[in-house]
Amino acid sequence: MNRDLQQRLLGEAAVRASEHPADLPRAVGAGMAAVRRKFLFGGVIAVALALALTAAFVAWRLAVIKAPPPTLESIAVTSASQALLPAATIPLTATGRYRDGSSRRLTEGVEWASSNTGVATVDGSGVVTAVAPGSVELTATLAGVSGRLALTVLRGGGPDLAGVHVSPETATMDPGGILQLLSEGSYSDGSRRNLNASALWSSSNPGIVAVDGNGLATAVAPGTATITASQEGLQGTSVITVPPAPKVATALSVTPAKLTLKEGQTARLEAVATYSDGSSATVGNVTWETTPPEPAAADVDPTGLVTARSIGNTAVVASLPGAGGQLLTARADVAVVPSVKSIEVSPVGPVQLEPSKTVQLRAVVFYSDGTKGSTVDWASSRPLIAAVDASGLVTAVARGDAEITATADGVTGNAVTIFVRGVVD
């Protein structure tokens, strides 16, 4: 482009630029405002992302890392019998007790060992085989924790076992109670021998009554179970009944819990017991007493009847023996307030009024503690002749006679006679 044309075009552009100058500060300011918005938006997104990542990390961590299993504290080894005849086999049971209080049967990973394989051997699954007479200790080991069971292998031979008898044949046990059963064998030579150690003990329902290898029965829950002692194909049984646990009172309350009486008044309190099974009922065999005992504002008799004696406050306490010898108590607060002795109404009357005329009556209430009051209920014997409002204002309505009375707490004051007469009467 030749220089003249270039200069001419530049000149035209310069004129237009001077007539329409661009606002540089505003343009740059708008750009920086956009930067500020982007940065703040990015910051918010980043913080939200960090929080979301935290939540995801924690959730992942909780899902991935399981709580470590509880530590095994001890192992209990049990068997259905603790005395065996040679060649007899019997499975052993290993039960692990954990630090968190739980316990469960151990089936895998348990190492079984016999202290004397000449007396009895035990295989990897815990089955014992009696070999020769003697005593042996069998050990179950898991994770460095061991449990032991002593076992006796009896001498074989001798008279034949003719029968097995378990005593007592029937028994009743409270839940949680234990009972040692006795298994006796009668032999062909007429002798009797204790079979507790050699017999195989079993329970028809271990959830109700459990029995160990020595005949010790433990009542677990209400119900009936049959305990069987077996040896050489012969059996003896004992039927054990566990009755339901009697319900015991766990809490006591008194109704009403607050009582207000006037001097001389009586009221009956009720004691309500809450039982271990969740039920509740009114009980009569509670002991009632006031506290402090003497002098008390009110008396209470053995049936819970409270009599207000003098003005004041007292507490009535009910006591009932609860579970485990614990004494359950509950109380009711009794307040004795003054009673009305008499009421005096003035003017005493008789009062004569013309219809639609009024007269104001006043009542003074005398209480038993010597104080006075004025709170009464007003009543007219014939409201169609003379009406009375709550303040004692009597309004004559129609010709006739009426009596106005004031009553408080059952005490009525002197009646005021109102004669309603016409002007000419």
Partner: protein, 226 residues
């Protein structure tokens, strides 16, 4: 295509940020070992530290070219002052280009202001001479969008107000950027998403159209394609 400077990550990796990153990751790892929901406290604290003390300052530096430090407002003010100073130096040149590219003076002014605003918002890293080229690129892009929008709106073009007005927009852009903004044909091609032969072709056509009588009887646009 308007090119911004590449992101430079290495300068933002200073020792303080590295130490803070390691510490924050260590806290997150420690939280991983704690039981139950207590682990949320160190994990959250570690991640928030990583974001607030490492990621955001680094982004501030890399993406927006703001000065290091935790305070945003002073950094933004410094950046604004720096950009304004550079644009101020280029203002006359840019205004000429804008009015040479667009016949409507109000539109030219508005497009130039928009180009400055967008360049200030998008430019990352330190200010270099490339900012002028980038701003011109944004201006050309906005101008083309404006023309496209005008055509879609069905608004008829006004009769040419200048000699450059008789050129097509592409030809006009090439002439103005080459003759007045002193950009090479290669730079113009890169800026307008065209090939260099297309740009030189536009320049040749523009030279033919704007050739007029001159005192020396020379063509008005005497320079040939590069």
């Amino acid at each position: 295509m308007c090119e911004l400077p590449k992101r430079r990550f290495l300068p933002s990796l200073n020792p303080l940020r590295l130490v803070l990153s390691v510490l924050a990751i260590a806290v997150v790892a420690a939280g991983w070992l704690l039981p139950e929901l207590i682990s949320a406290i160190p994990i959250g604290a570690g991640l928030l530290t990583l974001v607030a003390a490492v990621v955001l300052p680094a982004v501030k530096e890399i993406e927006f070219g703001l000065s290091p430090g935790f305070k945003l407002s002073p950094a933004l003010k410094d950046r604004e002052a720096e950009l304004r100073s550079v644009f101020e130096q280029q203002k006359g040149d840019m205004e000429y280009c804008a009015h040479l590219l667009c016949d409507n003076p109000e539109t030219a002014r508005e497009l130039l202001e928009a180009a400055w605003s967008q360049a200030a918002s998008a430019w990352r890293g330190p200010v270099t001479p490339q900012l002028r080229v980038y701003t011109l690129c944004v201006l050309v892009r906005l101008l083309r969008k404006h023309e496209l929008w005008m055509r879609r709106q069905g608004q008829e073009e006004a009769p040419p107000a200048s000699l450059l007005g008789s050129l097509t927009l592409d030809e006009r852009i090439v002439v103005v950027l080459h003759e007045f903004a002193n950009l090479t044909f290669a730079e113009i091609a890169g800026m307008t998403d065209r090939t260099t032969p297309e740009v030189t072709g536009s320049m040749s056509r523009a030279a033919a159209l704007t050739r007029g009588p001159s005192p020396e009887d020379k063509p008005a646009l005497e320079e040939g394609p590069e």
